[in-house]
Symmetry: C2
Subunit: 334 residues, 2 copies
């Protein structure tokens, strides 16, 4: 799966970009049509958060998996878009959680709109996602979605709890990112497979692919938070560090310290006691170490698991695009 050359990587990105470009009009049309039906009170907040996400990774994954496994026709779009609505709902509610620690760095809905709009728009999008999936009348789809919602919320809860408990184990980190990110990417792939009506074995392959891709995705996201002032997320480099989030580069850095220094640093991060200078120094230390490369290497292991699962899919154009998507997740720099 991992391209050997820069040229191969760019070729893969062109394949992926072409597919996304081809699918975006139908996805964005559906999202816009449903958003237009919302009450004017919540529509701007919903439109705001939906406008922020460009790649539509979750709908695209659902469409790719459905198509790769033989599903034809337009029936995939409401299902695929329900995942984007669900994702947007969690972003809206994230924006309302209190304290700088708990906010995402992006142009925040709680500033552009009021809390009322953000709470209710999130609830409406959650309800809409449920309704869209229920309209298929397939209990496996509704079960898949309802479990993904529960696990995603539980992952967000676990992340917040850990900004208080500061458990810097790899196990806790993987538990958090699996919850808050990977389950929804898994569900995106599984609902596509379910709609295609394939064997349990292929559904399992879609599940393993999506889950491991999701873990890799979040690890790379967290590594990039240390290396790039992202134009995508709107965060300056080191945003997670400022918010007291224990992500993988910081966890690797903590492992390199003596127990005493580790405890002292954890305590300072937790209580936000680090000066601007100390934060900048810590960020520079992590950037100049191998911590982010090690994080990307671990992401590579999960991506490799995802790639192996994908081999169970029959050969198709879409399977190739899924492979390219995996590569994008792993190699992206912003």
């Amino acid at each position: 799966m991992i391209s050997r050359s820069n040229e191969q990587y760019h070729a893969a990105m062109r394949v992926l970009a072409a597919y996304i470009e081809q699918q975006l009009p139908a996805i964005n049309d559906f999202l816009a049509r449903e958003t237009d039906k919302l009450d004017p009170l919540v529509r701007p907040a919903a439109a705001h958060v939906l406008a922020a996400g460009g790649k539509r990774l979750r709908p695209v994954l659902a469409i790719l998996c459905a198509r790769a496994l033989g599903h034809k026709g337009e029936a995939i779009y409401p299902l695929a878009c329900s995942l984007e609505f669900l994702h947007s709902a969690t972003l809206l509610h994230d924006d309302i959680l209190d304290g700088a620690v708990l906010r995402r760095g992006k142009a925040a809905a709680h500033i552009v709109f009021s809390r009322t709009e953000a709470v209710l728009a999130g609830d409406v999008l959650l309800a809409l996602a449920n309704q869209l999936v229920a309209s298929y009348g397939d209990p496996r789809l509704t079960t898949c979605l309802s479990e993904a919602i529960m696990r995603t919320v539980a992952g967000e809860v676990a992340e917040i709890v850990n900004t208080r408990e500061m458990d810097s184990s790899l196990e806790t980190y993987l538990h958090i990112i699996t919850g808050k990110t990977a389950y929804l990417l898994e569900a995106s792939c599984v609902v596509g497979a379910l709609l295609a009506g394939v064997s349990d074995e292929l559904i399992k392959a879609a599940s393993v692919f999506g889950l491991n891709m999701g873990i890799a995705f979040q690890i790379v996201d967290d590594a990039m938070d240390y290396t790039s002032a992202s134009s995508v997320s709107g965060k300056p480099a080191g945003g997670d560090l400022r918010e007291g989030k224990l992500t993988l580069p910081l966890i690797y850095h903590l492992e390199s310290l003596s127990p005493a220094r580790r405890e002292a640093l954890l305590s300072d991060i937790r209580s936000k006691a680090l000066s601007e200078e100390a934060l900048a120094q810590l960020l520079a230390d992590i950037q100049s170490s191998s911590c982010t490369e090690r994080a990307r290497a671990l992401a590579g292991e999960y991506a490799a698991k995802a790639a192996r699962a994908l081999e169970a899919f029959p050969e198709s154009e879409e399977r190739k695009v899924l492979d390219c998507a995996l590569e994008f997740v792993l190699q992206r720099e912003k």
Copy 2:
């Protein structure tokens, strides 16, 4: 349905109370078991809001309809309790909406807990409700619940919009209360009927019963807001008036005014320009008028529709209890 004497009313209340008392242990056990499984971050907020609701009207209605239509056994409890979780989720999120106008008067979760807890506990309870219903594997149940969620949230949105738009028409009022309250009571009755596996005709009867009972319930609730400092809701009399909510007693009062005075009063209520004295006087005016009695009379019309729908149910002990529940909804004084 409407008792002719005080004695008959009290006899009906004893029948209802006995049934609720008999069902509460199983309901509360299930609610507590599921709440105990929640993450410690969100558990206290969830437990707080669940502890506040004593009668468990929604689960009891689901159980009564299921039993009245022939369903036996324990399978009803997760379904019945999903409605209480859903109701609790909306209460938690209501507490976060900004400004005094938009809050309920009760001991507020946003004071006892932080916004973070209230947002996430609400999301978790919504997810839990979905998961419980999905576990039945019946698309009609998931469709019913997902529509009820969407309509309930839309009703809350409509109520908030109207504290800005101040449309004092009866039509808008009925639209709002049907959304925020009646659809969930309707869903409570319908899921019970669906689980009992009865004819479409009986499902429709359960729907008409629940919807009209729900409208009557909210009208009486709104009338009581003017007449009693409720120990149940924790609100002083006139809380809705202070919050700028256009409920039925106020709507009837506005109808009695000249157009000019009506517009002036609406404008003052909207902008919260009324002094404490003016508010107290307005409250006294409405209390001494026939506005609350007229509201209760309209509730009686909806209750009568509900009672007629109930006649389609086969005769049973539970049908009698449903009739008593209807009477309770209509006649309660606090």
